[in-house]
Amino acid sequence: MERLRIWRIGLLISLVMILLAGCSGDPTLSVLDPKGSAAKIQLNLIYWSLGLMTVVFVIVITIFVYVLVRYRKRKGQDRMPEQVHGSTKLEIIWTVIPIAALIALAIPTVQYTFDLAEAPPAEETVIIDVTGYQFWWEFKYPQYGITTAQEVHIPVGKKILFRVHGKDVLHSFWVPSLGGKVDVVPGRVNTVILDAKEAGVYQGKCAELCGSGHALMDFKVFAKNQADFDKWKDQMKQPAPTVATTSSEANGEKIFQQNCIGCHAGVNPNIQGPNLNKFATRTTIAGVLPHNDENLKIWLRNPQSVKPGTLMPKIDYLNKDELNDLIKYLDSRK
């Protein structure tokens, strides 16, 4: 009876495991599918510790199942078990073997901890200053004089030194595909060194509870070949088109300057919103909605419905034409 139940549980657990093995996570978000050398090192350590721990688990479960089956009370049995006090030999065995296993685990752990903290040579490194705000990310390239938000572009194969700054509350900067996270701590500058082994778009997350919009504080990492990256860099450095070409865009620019520029160009240092330079090239709005005019309208009219807690005010007082003009102007920011 009892044995049957134990097997039933085992069956259930293995069923769940098979089900889970079916889904392996998304290649742009999964720790188990590393795309950078930091993530690779970390995954190696995960597998090494998982392997060791699985051995321990199998040993414990084997003894466990054997004991439960072998020594359960059978019907009509009334035996007096021997009152054993212990066994020094056995106890030494299960003290010493785990210590050995832990040493085997501790050596690569300490090694990797120091490896990951080691700064690469400065001349080969791209430096990016990341700042976490409630609930968006700013990326500055001090070497190139570029500022952008929500989407960070990096060259494939190069070491990227992210210097992480905080201005309001704690956040945590995490790109699972490229490597582990580091906390955004106001008043400190933390660093994390990542790289991408192959071109692609990887998803970034905020991993520390930072308020109502925490779940939606996403960003994207665009890993590009050097040539593509340079092209992007040049495009970013080109000045924005100063004169709008059509009259509705010109009107949009006026509306933008009347309503948006206070936060979005950093005029007021106490209120800062994302830099909207080359906004039309971004793939998302607010880091979560796919970029199209319809979503832009939804966002402008009621940002809180998209991202609870965002500081962006509702722009619901513009009439239809004004809103369309504003959107046209934003679309021209390439």
């Binding site: 996570g25 090192i41 721990m53 004991v67 685990l105 752990t109 582990g180 400190r188 991993a207 609870p308």
Partner: protein
């Protein structure tokens, strides 16, 4: 403030109406009512039951909060509870489960069992015992009132500053957290001190430290941890209270403060707290496994040593909650190695349990089922614990669902399974009735299956890139199916808990009466006296002649313990209304601070000081009872 007075008057009116109006006998009647008896009791057995009921009540509230969160996460883009509401749920779930469910349930069992296991008539300070309970209870009540007075705290149970400061959490939510926990924390600290003194001073003749049952040992070490860990929380909460109420700047970085200080203080308390709630579960395991295997605990001395070592190392590892804060590779490595070291004494315990069962005659009564379910579940939680101790790997796990899975395996698979084992095991001793075995087995199996279905998949959620404390997730990134499974699993735990409640109600109405040695296999002192025990526990203090004191007598062919003193009258402490009065004072003061009503806060503090004054000049020396002679067939 007027509201409070109106409520107070209303309560007095209601009391009068239901007891027959005000007249000379009113106070007499109140004093002889059962409610008054429970409110003023200083008997450790009754306080244990109060802790049990309050703990179960908050356990259910915390469970409802968890269920609501899992419903929101059932599908991406759900709009049941988003943004702030979800953050309130996750904060209150964590805070309630740790401080208001796990802690009181542990105190429930400690109160019910420790004095009996050491052969004492009560704890060392019965008055403080009552005060500890009422402070916990009113603190918990205050915290939960936040739901109807301006919103619950929403900065997480860790309440990391930055977010928990006025600027980012306006409104009273976090104030409820600060003052509610401060008040209930004082209660916990008092409780811990009380048990330390009790175990050191109140042991029966012959009950040396190395003859203490394992549960008492773990209660002892846990009380020590409470004594050293809770002051860190008290200090942190006080600093946060000053930041929020009086404009100080301990944690505001723009004014030279630091959020990292909060993280350190919180985890210097928070990590030992994990051991505070898990060690008693280890103790319960040891007693239950030994009893139902009909065998002496394997390697008693090394079990005691492992317990003390875990308690000690528990203070050396708090930075493993902060590997991603950027404290540098040296700090991270030191704390990583210290954390891994804890696996060794924990492993010793697991193997000792296995070898206690080895060669025994295992009976799968409900407490033993929980103990048996505990072992593989807890070992899984311990495994992921070691994996989390490695900083490079932790950079990936930290604050993801992997961590959520890990600590639920430890806190539910460890603490809650342990507590259920303890409740089933000692229920007959506490209430004099056996819980239904049949309902107990339904409870166990549904809860166990539901638990694994909920939390096992969450390891994968974390590895697939889902951060914790999020109210939604994207579609098409491989997270939907796993979240569905996880939410479905909750149903198992809910059904299990319902079976448990049915079991309690059923047993209270028509449960089977329990013998003194309720399971017929008792090894320790509590099974040598009637179930439930008389007011004074032991008519004659027993003489302890070895580890497993009752078992030693059984082996020697004795039916009961040898007494160590002649039969005589027993001195008992008088009940007192001062603990509950003082706690109400704290409650009013806390509430006053929260609503920034300084007069109310002042009145509350006046009540507190009045109660202190009353207590100081209280010349009540208790009373004496004449025990019934067990030999002459008194109460059985």
């Amino acid at each position: 403030m007027p509201t409070l007075i109106v409520l107070l008057v209303l309560a007095l009116f209601l009391a009068a109406i239901f007891t027959g109006g005000y007249n000379k006998q009113f106070f007499e009647r109140v004093r002889s009512s059962r409610t008054w008896d429970w409110l003023t009791t200083v008997d450790h057995k009754k306080i244990g039951i109060l802790y049990l009921m309050a703990g179960l009540f908050f356990f259910i509230i915390g469970g409802i909060e968890a269920t609501l969160m899992r419903l929101q996460l059932f599908a991406p883009g759900n709009e049941l509870f988003v943004g702030r509401t979800f953050n309130e749920l996750l904060t209150m779930h964590g805070t309630t489960m740790i401080f208001l469910a796990a802690m009181p349930l542990i105190f429930a069992i400690m109160n019910a069992v420790v004095p009996l296991q050491i052969g004492a008539r009560d704890v060392a300070f019965p008055f403080l015992n009552s005060l500890g309970f009422w402070l916990f209870f009113f603190g918990g009540l205050l915290l939960n009132l936040s739901w109807i007075f301006g919103g619950a705290p929403d900065a997480g149970w860790t309440s990391y500053t930055g977010l928990a400061l006025n600027e980012y959490s306006p409104g009273p939510g976090v104030d409820f957290y600060v003052l509610g926990l401060q008040i209930s924390g004082i209660g916990t600290l008092i409780g811990g001190l009380n048990f330390l003194v009790t175990i050191i001073n109140m042991r029966a003749p012959g009950m040396t430290f190395l003859r203490l049952p394992l549960f008492t040992w773990t209660a002892f070490v846990t009380s020590g941890l409470i004594l050293f860990a809770f002051p860190a929380l008290t200090v942190a909460l006080l600093m946060l209270m000053f930041d929020r109420l009086f404009g100080s700047n301990f944690f505001d970085y723009t004014m030279g403060g630091s959020t990292v200080i909060w993280e350190h203080l919180f985890w210097i308390f928070g990590h030992p707290e994990v051991y505070i709630v898990i060690l008693p579960a280890f103790g319960i395991m040891s007693d239950v496994i030994s009893t139902f295997s009909k065998k002496r605990l394997f390697g008693y001395n090394s079990m005691v040593f492992a317990t003390v070592l875990i308690g000690f190392l528990g203070f050396m590892v708090w930075v493993h909650h902060m590997f991603t804060v950027g404290l540098g590779p040296i700090t991270n490595s030191v704390f990583a190695v210290a954390t891994m070291a804890i696996a060794v004494p924990t492993g010793i315990k697991v193997f000792n349990w296995l070898f206690t069962m080895w060669g025994g005659e295992i009976q799968f009564k409900t407490p033993m089922l929980w103990a048996v379910g505990f072992i593989p579940t807890f070992v899984l939680g311990g495994m992921t614990g070691v994996m989390l101790a490695l900083p490079p790997a932790d950079y990936q796990y930290q604050d993801s669902y992997f961590v959520v899975a890990h600590f639920h395996y430890v806190l539910v698979g460890g603490t809650v399974f342990g507590l259920f084992a303890g409740i089933y095991y000692w229920w007959p001793k506490m209430f004099g009735q056996m819980l239904s075995e049949r309902l107990g087995k339904w409870h166990f199996w549904t809860f166990l299956i539901g638990f694994h279905l909920t939390f096992f998949p969450q390891h994968f959620l974390g590895l697939f890139g889902m951060p914790r404390r999020v109210f939604t997730y994207q579609t098409n990134v491989g997270l939907e199916r796993i979240n569905e499974i996880s939410t479905i699993g909750v149903a198992g735990m809910v059904i299990g808990t319902i079976f448990f409640l049915i079991n309690i109600v059923y047993t209270l109405r028509k449960g089977k009466k329990a013998e003194a040695d309720a399971w017929g296999l008792g090894r320790t002192l509590e099974w040598s006296i009637p179930s439930p025990p008389p007011e004074y526990n032991f008519a004659q203090t027993p003489l302890v002649r070895g580890f497993d004191a009752l078992w030693v007598e059984k082996e020697a062919g004795n039916k009961s313990m040898t007494p160590s003193e002649p039969l005589g009258s027993i001195h008992m402490p008088s009940p007192s209304y001062i603990p509950i009065l003082m706690s109400i004072g704290f409650f009013i003061a806390g509430f006053g601070f929260i609503v920034r009503g300084i007069p109310a806060a002042a009145i509350g503090l006046v009540v507190v000081f009045a109660a202190l004054f009353l207590r100081s000049f209280d010349y009540d020396h208790g009373y004496h009872v004449e025990p019934e002679d067990p030999e002459k067939g008194g109460k059985e």
